[in-house]
Amino acid sequence: MIELQHVAMSYGGGDLLRDMSLQVAPGSFHFLTGPSGAGKTTFLKLCYAELLPSAGHLSLFGQDVRQMGRDEIARIRQRIGVVHQDCQFLDHLSLEENVALPLSVNRRTADPGELRELLAWVGLKRQAQSLPPQLSGGERQRAALARAVMMSPDVILADEPTGNLDWEMSLRLLSLLVELNRMGKTVMIATHDLNLIRQAKAQVSARVLRIANRQLHLAGADL
């Protein structure tokens, strides 16, 4: 689904990431870890074509990202659900409208029953009409997850989805992602929370990628 061959990435200075090779298989569960500033967000942005690699070959769903036009990128993003590090909502639209946004931008309307079910799944049924700024950090991140799965994407990329959640809420969000993976979705979570990774390993067979020394390493079976 996502394939990197000797990919390097730089923001203009030296390489931030270099010589990364990876194949993300359908249905797999990956963690991406590394210290703050290592380039986890950057790596995920490469995976949904917000950034282009400065060297190497990167393909999404078999398509070379360098060859993609803007409309093709838009189409790819319908198949990749992204939980952005800072959620990225439209603050003037209700939570419900925000969650349905991936459909609306394609001039489709969400089935009200399905939408309600989805909000219930992330535990935000009561907040459906709230505006994003009125939500707590945990609520926002669950809403972002609901929006990411709205289009029933093949891949879910989550950037620090438990970043400002307490442990209990983190576990809840993790179990939602595990559930999605059991439904056959490919999941990749960027996090520096090793406890979360340990917890996940008890539920699902996850691979752990670590960014260190500007390179991507496949961590050993145990942490």
Binding site: A49, L51, R70, D71, Q78, Q88, L101, V105, R107
Partner: protein, 298 residues
């Protein structure tokens, strides 16, 4: 063209609401469109009025000429008769008529007052000539008059008609150029307003791209807004401009020489094209600004 069609046919739902309401740029666009449409009404009125003027001058004056006969009183009648005889056989003359003393009095009154003793003055005789659309060979006629009636001078008005027509045509061209400038300035200002709105909504655009919105969708959300504002503003400006023109003091009192700066008859329909043009200008400039801005956000 296709863009325009899909633009008006698609339903107005979330596509409109994804962009948060922006009070300032909205008012700026409305005001700009209204002000420019108001000015456009005047530029249009100017162009149409001077167009009418130039036409009137070149057309009716081209068909009229005068022959002035100055001669000793005892020879006057003979010369007048000779001139009329010449005119009868001149091709291009539709009719000719000797002006009566009363008419002469009327012409001179503005200069000399009503008590002018026309009989006591050695006034020349005037013969008004109306030409056919083919016109008279002025040089040929002058030669013949010289031979038959030495006191007769043919004046086809070209001398003072030409500069007037040229001036009127120049003013009309300036009017049309003003129209272009007005719409150009409007395009510029709406582009700036759209750019401000786009820049203020960078977050919104990034979020829309993140969930897989195509450029066309995002651009349309902005374009639709600015086009609507351009249309509404320009309509208001046009109505105000037309009211202002309608209440201009009539110039007819001063004679038809200065045709009134206004619209006559069906020409009142001309200003109605201003709002659609304004809407198209708003459409084009917002679309241009939006697509350019979008290229920077992947």
């Amino acid at each position: 063209m296709r863009a325009v069609l899909t633009f008006f046919s698609s339903e107005r739902s979330t596509a409109d609401r994804v962009v948060p309401p922006t009070g300032f740029t909205a008012r700026l666009t409305l005001f700009t469109a209204a002000a420019m449409a108001f000015l456009a009404v005047f530029a249009l009125a100017l162009s149409l009025a001077t167009g009418r003027l130039a036409e009137r001058w070149s057309d009716s004056l081209a068909r009229s000429a005068t022959i002035r006969i100055s001669a000793a009183p005892d020879q006057m009648d003979a010369q007048v008769a000779a001139v009329l005889e010449v005119l009868k056989t001149t091709p291009g003359v539709a009719s000719s008529r000797v002006m009566s003393d009363d008419e002469m009095k009327g012409l001179l009154k503005p200069w000399f007052g009503p008590d002018l003793p026309v009989d006591a003055l050695p006034l020349p005789k005037l013969i008004a000539v109306t030409e056919t659309s083919a016109g008279v060979d002025a040089d040929g006629l002058r030669l013949r008059l010289q031979a038959e009636a030495p006191g007769a001078i043919f004046d086809d008005h070209t001398r003072w008609r030409r500069p007037l027509v040229a001036a009127a045509e120049r003013i009309r061209m300036l009017g049309l150029m003003s129209l272009l400038l007005i719409f150009g300035a409007m395009a510029g200002m709406i582009t700036l307003a759209a750019q401000a709105a786009l820049a203020a909504n960078g977050q919104v655009i990034a979020a829309l791209r993140l969930v897989g919105a195509r450029d066309a969708f995002i651009a349309r959300a902005f374009v639709r807004r600015f086009t609507t504002r351009g249309l509404i503003g320009a309509t208001a400006g046009m109505v105000l401009g037309m009211i202002a023109v309608a209440f201009l003091p009539s110039a007819d009192a001063a004679g038809a020489f200065l045709t009134g700066l206004g619209f006559s008859g069906a020409a009142w329909l001309w200003p109605l094209i201003i709002p659609p043009i304004a809407a198209m200008v708003a459409f084009g400039s917002t679309r241009f600004a939006a697509l350019r801005m979008l290229r920077r956000i992947r």
